[in-house]
Amino acid sequence: MADKNVVSTSSTTGVFEYAPAPESRSIVDIKPSYGLFINGEFVDGHGPGSGAFKTINPATEEVLAEVAEASDADVDKAVKAARKAYDKVWGRMPGRDRAKYLYRIARIIQERGRELAVLESLDNGKPIKESRDVDVPTVAAHFFYYAGWADKLEYSGFGSTPLGVAGQVIPWNFPLLMLAWKIAPALACGNTVVLKPAETTPLTALLFAEICQQADLPPGVVNIVTGAGDTGRALVSHPDVDKVAFTGSTDVGRAIAKAVAGTDKKVTLELGGKAANIVFDDAPIDQAVEGIVNGIFFNQGHVCCAGSRLLVQESVAEEVLDRLKRRMSTLRVGDPLDKNTDIGAINSAEQLARIRELSDIGEAEGAGRWSPACDLPSNGFWFPPTIFTGVSQAHRIAREEIFGPVLSVLTFRTPSEAVEKANNTPYGLSAGVWTDKGSRILHMANQLRAGVVWANTFNKFDPTSPFGGYKESGYGREGGRHGLEGYLR
């Protein structure tokens, strides 16, 4: 049902107004409550209090479902199920058979693609255009890619022995995609998993559990334990977990790294970022503006590798900013289920508060704040696309990850100054370079201390392409041949 509160941000005054184009919700069948998925079936949770929590639609604040909360005992049960499945079934299964299960899962994801996309948009707040065209297809591709490695591990360069049971904790920004990035390589290599989705976005993980059932995946190979911070802690510190994989904030990543110290647990972390998106004076300017917009406003800026710092060469700064503002005025903020929405809802009240707080700090520190005119709905969590100009490295909004649709704009004069500023951060996840000159692209790529460098593009993901950070953005890689390393010995 279309949300009548949302209106386009387009600055065109009434001539070509896009009528509401809602994607139907009828394809999803959200149950009133969900249990934990352990050993191939849904079971009750025994978390503190009622043992359940609610997940809401951030665009409307409507309650979508009640979700079980996993207690320490539930986590233990899940790890035991994973261990048993590893020892008796999955760890000893020939690669070609594991491959077939993963191919089945990939196929079913394709078959139920629209359903998954709608559910993701409802639970996360991201536009249906993105969940339909980016998230879900990439999820399917990820499972297809790793399915093909299951029976070729001897060619990986990392051995062909799995680790055992993997405990995996994922964030709320790309719920199903982050699940795919964790589960696909783990299973391909012969590991079994216990995965905890984020507390604000559990629903596609739970639908994935149904898909595992449809694929006849042996019980215990995949276990989903829903819950919040306590559940995650119980999982990563469980003594019978051989491998910990975490994507989330640097703070939590740091705590995990400390918690596994002295154990045999292998760990990979994919944490925060404050990527520099560097635009040179000879950039293909219209595509650079698209890249800036894509870099920070795609997925509402809830992206660890977001290009949240625009470093623009001073000689073209004014022109780039004029074009950027003009382009931002055509962004449509609104109902995530409207097919024409470009920017959806902020995932939670907490995240919205954080974005607001840091934006207010940005203003207080003297940066110039600008957003296009936006009619934001009265309920739900919304923030307009925003840029701060005149930002310097010393500003908090140049250093701290905001994780929202907020861009900090700095200038530079020379390539070496751009490198210096880009690298001057504890983070090192990604970077963007915009120039027409090939040698400069390669020079910058060499110099930038970032795990992913996008040249004349941004926010491009592919299952064959390794992704991960330098420095405090974490360690380990997901995707590609390199993505197998973390799941083999």
Binding site: S10, T12, T13, V15, F16, E17, Y18, A19, P20, A21, K129, D133, D282, A283, P284, I285, D286, Q287, E290, G291, T330, K339, N340, D436, N456, T457
Partner: protein, 323 residues
């Protein structure tokens, strides 16, 4: 709509006289324009193509698209009879529905202008004539100018010229520029559209350069293709041209129109173009004075979709005229 109105004054050539004075300065300017990244440009055009235009927006877009059609016949086998039938269709596209708007123009070879004019009179549907040794452009300049004058004398309101692609690809930009200026002069009060034949120019960088060259030379419209070469109009090529006219107005205050031609066959395609005009150049271009579709089969599909929106039923080709 009457020809020769609006900002037909040649203020632009005065602004650019330094740039266009010599072959070297013109070349430096054109080669100094920002490049176009092919992958990024095509991705943006494709993304705009995913806009979902429904109900009232779709009805608006269909009617606007009909009003923007330059209904075209450019065949060796054209006869006065064929052209008169086409002209009648342009004035009354849907025999079952008099509320259906007229098209913007009819587009024909110069020796067919008179036949079209006979039927169209002062209905408000313009006559556009291709000229300058269309479609190849391979003839001496005086022949191309005579071709142009011929069409204007016969009553053409608009002239669609082709640039010399050979000269352009050989880097003789000044020659191309001077030819456009000469043709513009031969047009008198008729409006000039400049056809690039983007399929032959191949790169988006070339399309951007051709756009600036044509605009500085005084073209009223820039046009993608003759429709005789594949690929003809595409969304990304048109997008690059829309960016050029937007930037040109930013710099000079002057508007130039855009016309994609050839290969636009369905309402769905046409609507994608209108979305692109809306979000890339802006609302001011959403008007037949500033945006046209060079098409023939497109019109019937627009009529079918228009009918479906009114009746709620899918229609069929039997209900629309083939002219």
């Amino acid at each position: 709509m009457p020809p020769g109105q609006g900002s037909a004054a040649s203020a632009s050539s005065a602004d650019f006289s330094d740039i266009t004075r010599t072959a070297a300065s013109l070349r430096r300017f054109l080669h100094g324009l920002p490049g176009v990244d092919q992958v990024g440009a095509e991705a943006r055009a494709a993304s705009l193509g995913t806009r979902s235009i429904k109900t009232t927006a779709k009805a608006f877009a269909i009617d606007l698209a009909i009003r923007m059609v330059d209904l075209t016949t450019l065949e060796g086998q054209d006869t006065p009879g064929k052209v008169r039938a086409l002209a009648a269709k342009a004035m009354h596209p849907d025999p079952a529905d008099p509320s259906c708007p007229m098209t913007a123009a009819v587009c024909v070879y110069p020796d067919m202008v008179a036949s079209a004019k006979q039927v169209l009179g002062d209905s408000g549907v313009n006559v556009a004539a291709v000229a300058t040794a269309f479609p190849s452009g391979r003839a001496a300049l005086d022949i191309k100018l005579a071709d142009t004058r011929d069409a204007v004398e016969a009553g053409a309101d608009e002239i669609d010229m082709v640039i010399d692609r050979g000269a352009f690809l050989a880097g003789h930009y000044k020659q191309v520029f001077d030819e456009i200026v000469a043709v513009r002069e031969a047009c008198g009060s008729a409006h000039l559209k400049v056809i690039f034949e983007t399929g032959e120019l191949q790169t988006y960088d070339n399309v951007r350069r051709a756009s600036w060259l044509a605009m500085m030379a005084g073209g009223h419209f820039i046009k993608t293709s003759t429709g005789k070469v594949q690929p003809a109009a595409t969304l990304p090529v048109t997008m690059v041209m829309l960016e050029a006219v937007r930037d040109f107005r930013e710099q000079t205050g002057q508007m130039v129109g855009v016309k994609p031609a050839g290969g636009i066959r369905t309402t769905k395609d046409a609507i994608k173009y209108l979305v692109m005009v809306n979000e890339v150049a802006g609302q001011d271009w959403l008007d037949p004075d500033w945006f046209r579709f060079g098409a023939s089969t497109l019109l019937n599909d627009l009529l079918m979709q228009r009918t479906k929106m009114k009746t709620g039923r899918y229609s069929g080709p039997d209900y629309f005229t083939l002219d």
